[in-house]
């Protein structure tokens, strides 16, 4: 265990040079894939009792933040979300009268703390039930990438608390 000053930072050989639009360094850590035996078990657990969840990829070298903000290349701690989304890349929370759209970001919270992020794949109004039908794409920890409704995730992630977007209003 080498002592690394600033894990995931510039001095860490196990990280990629990754920056926000405002040129803030994003700490990250390259990781190996999980053993196939463990991935088989992970996928079995992920799909058990979740009929609307589909596996997109059995990848395990990035996490949910890495999927959204590093193009599936590396793992980024969830705690970095605010610095990236709000400060670095200019996202904003959806206003009360806005509805999520494709490409927006869902933020899950458990006991107030951010626990997971997911990308909105599709969002459409269900007139019959006067509700939104939303489909998300996210990496579940290091256990594979899934397409899922907002409510069908591991308990560890809590529930969707807010949606953020980088959409700009039409000039």
């Amino acid at each position: 265990m080498a002592l690394i000053i600033g894990r995931g930072g510039e001095g860490d050989p196990q990280s990629l040079p990754l920056y926000t639009r405002s040129r803030t360094r994003i700490p990250n850590e390259l990781t190996l894939e999980q053993h196939p035996d463990i991935m088989r078990e992970a996928i079995r657990l992920a799909l058990a009792g979740r009929p609307n969840v589909r596996l997109r990829s059995a990848a395990s070298h990035y996490n949910c933040m890495g999927l959204l903000f590093a193009d599936r290349r590396t793992a980024i701690d969830v705690d970095a979300w605010e610095e990236i989304i709000r400060e670095g890349d200019g996202y904003r929370p959806l206003l009360v009268d806005e509805t999520p759209r494709e490409g927006d970001v869902a933020i899950y919270r458990l006991n107030g703390a951010v626990a997971h992020v997911a990308l909105v794949l599709s969002a459409r109004a269900e007139l019959a039930t006067a509700s939104m039908s939303i489909v998300l794409l996210s990496q579940w920890g290091f256990d594979g990438e899934y397409i899922h409704p907002p409510t069908e995730v591991p308990e560890l992630y809590g529930a969707v608390a807010e949606y953020w977007t980088d959409r700009k209003p039409r000039p």
């Binding site: 265990m1 080498a2 002592l3 690394i4 894990r7 850590e29 990781t31 190996l32 894939e33 999980q34 053993h35 196939p36 035996d37 463990i38 991935m39 088989r40 078990e41 992970a42 079995r44 657990l45 395990s60 996490n63 949910c64 933040m65 793992a75 701690d77 969830v78 705690d79 703390a113 626990a115 997971h116 579940w140 920890g141 290091f142 256990d143 591991p154 560890l156």
Partner: protein, 201 residues
């Protein structure tokens, strides 16, 4: 849950899959807190015999040769063992943390060890009895130091002592005379005999 049941659970694939749902260390530890196997071991780990058991499992896991393409299959388990040793302020924690330096393809275990600092309580007489510092080989020099070997020596010693009261360990370690040649010899043969100063003379 008994200790063997908890160990079996922690070293199982399902446990690894569950904890790997965590996206970062904060979530990993939060998830670990809710695992019954970990709670059971955490309760038992204040007893030195169970610290010895954790140590034994840790060394055994670290000796596995993982497939270089993948993360260590017992990465989560190793992390949990190190975390538990730290949590009960076991004097075995610092050497356990050192041991991880020589183990390849770890992720969680390394993150845990980096986030923790050694915290043996020097005022605690019972912790001194197990102190790995007391078993540190004076002859360790850069060309002979081998953390894994040291860990194995400690483990082997602990195994031999199972039938004796463990309180005796510190006295024997203090009496031990580990010469440079013996140390080198031990590395070749993969075994080491602790010889008391009196026996050596």
């Amino acid at each position: 849950m008994t200790a063997p049941e908890a160990i079996r659970e922690i070293e199982g694939k399902e446990f690894a899959a569950r904890l790997n749902l965590a996206s970062d260390l904060r979530m990993f530890l939060a998830a670990a807190e809710h695992e019954e196997a970990i709670s059971s071991l955490a309760r038992l780990a204040s007893d030195r015999r169970y610290q010895e058991l954790l140590w034994e499992r840790l060394v055994r896991a670290c000796r596995l040769s993982p497939d270089h393409r993948y993360r260590h299959p017992l990465d989560a388990a190793i992390g949990v063992y190190v975390w538990l040793l730290n949590r009960v302020s076991s004097p075995l924690y610092p050497v356990a943390s050192e041991l991880l330096r020589r183990v390849e393809n770890l992720m969680w275990a390394l993150r845990i060890a980096r986030s923790l600092s050694p915290k043996p309580n020097p005022a605690d007489e019972s912790s001194r009895e197990l102190s790995p510092a007391s078993a540190t080989v004076d002859a360790r020099r850069p060309n002979t130091s081998d953390t894994v070997t040291l860990a194995e020596v400690l483990w082997t010693t602990l195994q031999r002592e199972k039938t004796r009261p463990f309180l005796d360990f510190e006295r024997r370690a203090q009496d031990a005379h580990w010469s440079e040649s013996q140390w080198r010899q031990s590395r070749k043969q993969g075994d080491f005999s602790v010889t008391s100063a009196a026996e050596a003379a």
